[in-house]
């Protein structure tokens, strides 16, 4: 995949996410952040390491976007969501569910990857509903 402009740190992060090797940066105190980053924005630590993202995240909020800018003109309507993946939240487009406020709920489990924007084929962070097994098994994992 190629981005229209090069953004070192971010581009590599997106490539890793596309390869199923998504990560967040974490400081020794466990504060998460996203690259490029030299300093933990919470505590100022410069000892940042790459930690794998959780396999599934939890939708914390979402909206159904009907009016968008030119880069998303052919993607509408789409579901935009913020999902919690442990040390960080990610923002992306939720596919695999109807773009309807009642088809999605806060608390839904999702997987994350990289797909193409419908409008121009540029890379896009995409959530998809995690399959039933994961949705059931994840809470048990946490206990």
């Amino acid at each position: 995949m190629s981005a229209p402009a090069s953004n070192a740190g971010y581009d590599e992060w997106l490539d890793a996410l596309a390869a199923g090797e998504g990560f967040a940066l974490a400081c020794p105190d466990g504060h998460g952040s996203l690259p490029p980053r030299r300093v933990c924005p919470e505590c100022g630590s410069t000892a940042l390491s790459e930690e794998p993202l959780a396999e599934t995240g939890t939708v914390e909020t979402y909206s159904v976007v009907h009016v968008a800018g030119p880069r998303f003109a052919d993607d509408t309507p789409y579901v935009n969501a913020v999902a919690d993946f442990g040390p960080v939240r990610l923002t992306g487009v939720l596919r695999g569910a109807e773009p309807d406020v009642d088809a999605v709920a806060v608390g839904d489990r999702v997987a994350v990857g990289v797909e193409e924007r419908a409008t121009d084929g540029e890379p896009l962070v995409v959530f998809r509903p995690a399959d039933g097994e994961q949705a059931v098994s994840r809470p048990a994992d946490g206990e």
């Binding site: 971010y10 968008a68 806060v106």
Partner: protein, 388 residues
């Protein structure tokens, strides 16, 4: 520390003026402010000018000297950019400059030209107030970001679209007598509920319009007002600013605005007043949910209580605490870089008694203005008081 007074205010009509240049809009607001103040232009020592997207809308960077020229002032000029809080920051710096004794007369305000662009380009332009890498590329629009906050609020505290529709109806009703307002017509709760969706749960009447306009204030020291016999009955007694993480997803809470909490705390402490003293407020309702978040950050309502304030009649024009008697960004309009200055202008008029809605708050002595940038990664709060 020198006390700060608002000597004069000037606004253009807020609305669709696609043919008018930014320089013409700001000159109009500035000349009206000088007329209102009775202060000669040659006394101005600094110009603080707010603008957000002039580089996109007019291919014009470096706007401050251009606006000094347009306003007919010959003094140092600086552009402030903090997205939708640009003019709020410009006013705050004027207050700090006058307090410090560096200057006795500062003009502060801002301008935004927007309707000359097609709607999709404005949508794209406004989105640059969000994190480009992790939000805009991930599908976040300006209405979409506030929709994410609205849904997070509903999930945390409850509330529904009908509560938001009451805010839209309230602010549209307030704009009817305001000669500067973009939409001087009432909108019913049912009309708001039936409007097409923009970014659900927000629909058309939850969103502010796209607006051209400018604002200007003549800010002076109390000493200058006394020496030059300038009638300036409203004082800026408190100023505060807050900053938060840029991306909504990085915030501590998706349904609160800590930057505005910080700005409000600082402004109240600065003025020596508390939320119970506030008689009238102008808050940054770029979307109906934003008014709710603002009221809670200003400590005028507890978290979870702001959502019902309009529906319960507390913040309506005849309520105990009228909010956005100007019509707010919602109905008065939101020329992004001018808004923070226009809020202070409207609040000044309300407190002086020469606003068409002043009769709704005849005894008001303390007003508060809340101006936010982006999804409130930036916030500025000012306290205005009738000078004793």
């Amino acid at each position: 520390m020198t006390d700060v007074r608002v000597a004069g205010v000037g606004l253009t009509h807020f609305g669709s003026h696609p043919e008018r240049t930014g320089r013409d809009l700001f000159a109009t607001a500035a000349l009206r402010a000088f007329d209102d103040a009775g202060v000669p232009r040659e006394d101005v020592e600094e110009l603080n000018y707010g603008n957000f997207m002039g580089a996109l809308a007019e291919h014009q960077g470096h706007q401050a000297p251009l606006m000094a020229e347009a306003a007919g002032v010959d003094c140092p000029s600086t552009r402030y950019e903090e997205a939708c809080a640009s003019a709020g920051v410009a006013v705050r710096e004027a207050v700090r400059t006058v307090r410090s004794g560096e200057a006795d007369v500062v003009v502060a305000g801002g301008m935004e030209r927007m309707t000359n662009l097609p709607t999709d380009e404005v949508t794209e332009g406004l989105a640059i107030a969000a994190d480009d890498l992790f939000e805009v590329r991930a599908g976040v629009t300006f209405p979409g970001a506030y929709a994410l906050m609205a849904n997070a609020y509903f999930d945390a505290y409850g509330g529904e679209r009908r509560d938001l529709a009451h805010i839209a109806a309230k602010n549209h009703a307030n704009a009817v007598p305001n000669e500067y307002a973009q939409y001087r017509r009432e909108v019913s709760v049912e009309e708001a509920l039936d409007a097409p969706p923009v970014a659900e749960p927000l629909h058309l009447y939850d969103a502010c319009p796209i607006t051209d306009g400018a604002s200007a204030l003549v800010i002076v020291s109390e000493e200058y007002a006394t020496e030059h016999d300038v009638d300036a009955p409203v004082a800026v007694t408190g100023t505060g600013q807050g900053t938060d993480r840029m991306a909504l997803g990085d915030r501590e809470h998706l349904a609160r605005t800590p930057a505005a909490d910080d700005a409000a705390d600082a402004a109240y402490a600065d003025a020596g007043v508390g939320p119970d003293d506030v008689d009238v407020a102008e808050v940054h309702d770029c979307f109906t949910i934003a008014e709710v978040l603002a009221l809670e950050s200003l400590d005028l309502f507890e978290p979870g209580e702001g959502i019902g304030a309009a529906r319960n009649g507390v913040t309506t024009a005849d309520g105990a605490l009228p909010v956005n008697l100007s019509g707010g960004l919602k109905a008065k309009g939101h020329p992004v870089g001018a808004t923070g200055g226009s809020q202070i202008a409207e609040l000044t008029r309300l407190l002086r008694g020469d606003h068409p809605n002043s009769d709704r708050v005849p005894d008001a002595e303390v007003g508060v203005a809340h101006n936010a940038g982006g999804t409130v990664a930036s916030a500025v709060v000012h306290v205005l008081e009738v000078a004793q």
